[in-house]
Symmetry: D2
Subunit: 145 residues, 4 copies
């Protein structure tokens, strides 16, 4: 269903994580990717909390957004960049967790716009609880050299 336009897309996606300083700084880690999808995780620390001890909405939103960008990135051409146009996220439950896991799936690939859904889960041992869900619109744009 999804057409890969860059045979080396896995290295490209890995690079979207390594070279994004904010992603490194907060501590998100790439877990895997394939055509049209990406999975990430975060070991939650107190520095990720909001004022009441829950994982900050911004931590979840950044994870949903970046994982969506990487999922779109699996379908990019070599000379393209991926930029977020907009996203919407519903925080479904207050997230109290040692670990977050995120899965992003391309809902609609496009030449210019790609729409991706991201789900963020609180992980406790074997148990995963959906804590937030996002819909993300991304633009693939020609890289300027």
């Amino acid at each position: 269903m999804f057409v890969v336009k860059n045979s080396d897309y896995k290295a490209r996606v890995a690079n979207i994580f390594v070279s994004a300083r904010f992603i490194q700084d907060v501590g998100y880690r790439l877990r895997g990717c394939g055509p049209g999808w990406c999975e990430t995780e975060l070991a939650v620390e107190p520095r990720h909390w909001q004022q009441d001890g829950f994982v900050h909405a911004g931590v979840q939103a950044t994870m949903a957004d970046h994982t969506a960008g990487a999922a779109a990135g699996t379908l990019m051409r070599v000379d393209e960049l991926v930029l977020t146009v907009e996203f919407k996220i519903n925080l479904l439950r207050t997230a109290v967790a040692d670990r977050l896991f995120c899965r992003a799936d391309v809902l609609r690939p496009g030449r210019q716009l790609t729409v991706v859904e991201s789900s963020v889960f609180a992980v406790a041992g074997e148990k995963q609880t959906l804590v937030s869900k996002a819909m993300v619109t991304l633009a693939l744009v020609q890289q300027v050299k």
Copy 2:
């Protein structure tokens, strides 16, 4: 127009910044607040960038969300918490900036739900350019002791 229910709301809002570890960690700073509004700023550093040298969408989203929460917080009762229900953000321009400024205004206060708009600006000297705009729905919930 806005009814303040906690005469000490400024201290409360200040505390929403000081005690939110993620906000401290990323470096957002409260600049001012009043009934139904809040302003914040961020001195942008390379650690806030995404993979192409722009301010990460997550940095902007966190700022829009947290400033909105603080704006809603100016109208809370002493015994209430503010939690984000959902938000949507449009990234209008790629943000290349040394400083970000955010202004959040309550659009609709409510007993249970408050709707807030946040605008994020890239600041260069005297010039401010709107880089993203968010609409945020927040819930005011009774604190459990």
Copy 3:
């Protein structure tokens, strides 16, 4: 997983369609419902078009919203109303179709807020194509007699 609080919920959902004048006027039809879900359809006519002969975004948005409300309605108490707080919809493809089908599923039931996802499909014979997807936040509120 979903708790039904009104044994007569199917009649209640049916009534959400029959008594909503705009729904009758545009022509949406209830196809079925169960705990936490609802399905609807629309026989597309030229009066549902926008200026270029595609199904109007508003026709799709109304369908996504109302079907979501009905899905939330399957979990309401007898004395509650369902009201839309907000929704976001992505129009994924221009919809050229004789029939639209919509499926809404509750993602997160709550005492006060319920979050529902709705998918709208263009139907051509046996083939269904996803044309839009919405995330809808709804409030269950006590009916005032």
Copy 4:
């Protein structure tokens, strides 16, 4: 600030209303437009209600979306179409009104994507009450002859 690329844009916008069958059918009326903005109105009738006698969210969403499209349309080239990519709307108050008024303003014009804000007001005599607000992303696409 806004660059008009079609000197005959007013006729074009008028046509976006006249030729959109759903808009005619529901009864929205163009009130005025200029570079980057559009205003519309609707005489509310019982056929616009949801099940509890409020104006249906879909009626408000359609108005917000179409007025936004027309605002974007004031900045289109002659050979372009405007299509909604996505929108998000917050229903701020239950709308009980004889008349709705909508104002849409372009927040960010773009070659490919235009972002517009729409506000819907309930009108009672001289008084206007904001009942919903939307943020709409639209694509300008080359017309295929």
